[in-house]
Amino acid sequence: MYRYDEFDAAFVGGRVAQFSDQVRRRIAGELNEDQFRPLRLMNGLYLQLHAYMLRIAVPYGTMSSRQLRKLAHIARTYDRGYGHFTTRQNIQFNWPKLKDVPAILEELSSVEMHAIQTSGNCIRNITTDQFAGAAADEIIDPRPVAEILRQWSSLHPEFSYLPRKFKIAMTGAPNDRAAIRFHDIGLQAVANAAGDIGWEVWVGGGLGRTPMVGKMINAYVPHEHLLAYLESILRVYNRYGRRDNKFKARIKILVHEEGLETIKGQVEAEFAEVRGGVLTLPQEELDRINTYFAPPAFQELAATRIDVAREAILDPGYGRWLERNLNSHRQPGYVSLTVSLKPIGGAPGDATAEQMEAVADLAERYSFDELRVTHEQNLVLPHVRVADLRAVYDALVAAELADGNAGLITDMIACPGLDYCALANARSIPIAQAISQKFASEERQKEIGDLKIKISGCINACGHHHVGHIGILGVEKKGGELYQITLGGDATENASVGKILGPGFEAEKVPDAIERLVDAYVARRESPAETFIAAFRRLGEAPFKEALYGAG
């Protein structure tokens, strides 16, 4: 993992001291709220419905045990004993007091964490594949480049006041688990004709009120020119992005309104100016950063086949967990495993301080002290020996974290919704809970198979409803909540935006509506191997529309 150098430490320490003094001045009445609000937002401190909310960055979703233990300590000492992992691989605390925030930031800086650039019209936390550096299908570990981008984008003087916030996601694997086509910039590792690895660059993707699939702006940018190329995109956006209308200010609108070829021409013109200049990434610097992400000291093990069927007979819960929560590792004898934060009836993404400590202990003992946060609001132990799986599972059972439901219908994304969020129009968590309880049966979940439900409490789409195979969007109608259902979204390399099929549903009717869709799928699929999204693409919306609204 990356470790702060003296510049990082000084930068974060300096910011803690600066913001601590700003908090002191605010409480003393030397600053009013109009003056203080932009300062607190620069440090990830929002005001939500019931209290402040502190959003802490987990750079590219990678953490050490020490860092997760610190988050547990903060949850217990300054908050209410739990934290909420988000769709941007961050963590949020929902109940901090303003006077405690300087101490929290001090605690975070002691483990090389902070909340800088988790708000505001700047480049936000760069997200990656949660299996980066471990996945069997990976071409390259994207995290060294993500770290270089983090350093480039932190307090970038030119890009601290962009027209709107700016999100970058990367994947080093052809199977996109980071939703790169739905970010302002998406980066996918590719090899050129000579076999050299570089980056395919996608631009103008996004969700929110105007969902758009990103467009490929460059099929191959070599490592050494990536910073210059991204800076060129940001410069074009910073210059031409709309500042007159907040709802049209994202780069996706600029690309859509001007056309990809126009934007591409402007980016190329800018790139021609800066290419080969100070932003050229020296190989020695890339090598230096790469050493921080060198593979851990794996043992030389034989490839190990896990007899899931046998284990399922002996212990069905363990069998389900093996079947659903493991991801193939590039190192024989190892796997990556998903720690589900989606217990039946729970709040998606929530983990107690005790659970965080349990996962930190497991990461330390069984995963080379490393863990990940996923954009689907789960945790990952990236490097676990197959031989240790039973011990890890037993410890997860004790921590109530052993749900074997990764990728199943109960593994939902949900934003905090109107229970917490000042922007929301409707609640999300109770909908997720009700659906989870509706489909609590493990046999039923297994019968349905891969299915992604994503729930947002407003059009800003933090719950990624547009890219859910089934998406649910809460809206306000006549003082109450109404939920629109979309079908056919997909955040992967087969990117698509879901479509609304018809009128919305009241909250209590949503679980039954989802069940009708699921029943329609199960009845019409060619075989259990045909997933929900594959069946939807083959069948079209008609049978699902009929299931929801009748034949009329």
Partner: protein
């Protein structure tokens, strides 16, 4: 009918202006401003802003149902009680969180 609500600076807790000019946690203690009391409401807003201690200050429409104040917006009903899923207690004021105008 309207009430004044906001969040207290230190705790962030949801608070309401009561009839004594104090910012309190309990919705049912909120001072209700009738339509013709706009001047008094605006004076209360100005006095509150001068304290610098109440943020996200808003007026909210309420009605009286069976003798209880009920905000018209669901958002405000949730603010008054705390999150519904899971059900959690709302944020409370601390000793240094009492504000009056």
């Amino acid at each position: 009918m309207e009430i004044l609500t906001g969040n207290e600076l230190i705790s962030g807790a949801t608070v309401y202006l009561d009839r004594r000019g104090q910012w309190v946690e309990e919705l049912q203690e909120a001072r209700v401003f009738a339509v013709e009391e706009g001047e008094a409401r605006d004076a209360a807003i100005a006095a509150t802003k001068a304290t610098l201690r109440i943020i996200s200050l808003e007026t909210e429409k309420v009605s009286v149902v069976e003798g209880l104040l009920v905000p018209e917006r669901l958002r405000e009903r949730i603010r008054a009680k705390g999150p519904t899923a899971p059900v959690l207690d709302r944020q409370h004021l601390y000793e240094d969180g009492h504000v009056s105008i």
